[in-house]
Assembly symmetry: C2
């Protein structure tokens, strides 16, 4: 596939992408929670090429089957979870090529959470409370979250 | 809203847009069918600005509530149905800024149908049969059509 244009990527992500803060209970963590910021873009397998184009463009992230256990779900997802990739590649890109939909608000909150984690604020209760407050404002108030309000 | 970049529009439409051939039974038509090619892009009301940006960019089309009868559906849709707007603006744009997903196949079929209609081929049974064959290949074999195979 030819190299994707950055503005094409901004438009495509504005439609199909998602900035998400996954929150898991984790007894190994001092705060009891594991926080995983994740940028992802899903497509049916027939349009998997575009996701490969994202790997080529950003030079980071990977593809996986969206729900490998569900044989009916033929979607693939491009995922970036590595914090340095988010900080050095994904966040600067969307700072430059801004989104035009309400997803822009999610991106700003997402970037704030990643920066707080880079500063280690997820390791103390006050920081994690603030992170959760930001995360729960994202993606239409977390309407797709399975478990809400773990701490706050 | 600032003017949208054409590549942003290509990416956004690749995610959120749709090229569709609506087919209605219509006793007024000699062939018994009315064929309406339509380009549309839907968004939640909170991202309606981008749809207004499409009107500003293309200089054609209009916005409407997606399902005005359903109070729970808060989506708006940008619609271009006028054949001259499709022929002079929308189709040339996507010939220049091509889509990267499987939607590109829909676009090619859509453009073919609009051109056949411009040549008047929807006014005779052989032409309309060919148009329906093309239309039924679109959008994953018409899986979202309410009524399939009206004629063929």
């Amino acid at each position: 596939m030819e190299t994707l244009h950055p503005q094409y990527i901004a438009g495509f992500v504005d439609g199909e992408g998602s900035f998400h803060i996954a929150i898991y209970k984790d007894g190994q963590m001092k705060t009891g929670l594991k926080i995983i910021p994740e940028f992802h873009v899903s497509q049916r397998v027939s349009s998997k090429d575009v996701l490969e184009g994202l790997i080529g463009f950003f030079g980071c992230g990977y593809l996986k089957e969206n729900h490998s256990a569900n044989k009916k779900d033929k979607t693939f997802v491009y995922v970036v979870r590595n914090r340095q990739d988010l900080l050095k590649t994904i966040i600067p890109f969307f700072n430059k090529y801004s989104l035009k939909t309400e997803k822009q608000k999610d991106f700003i909150l997402f970037a704030k959470v990643v920066e707080m984690m880079q500063a280690g604020e997820h390791r103390n209760p006050a920081g994690i409370k603030k992170i959760l407050q930001l995360a729960y404002q994202m993606n239409q108030g977390g309407r797709y979250r399975r478990k809400k309000h773990l701490l706050i």
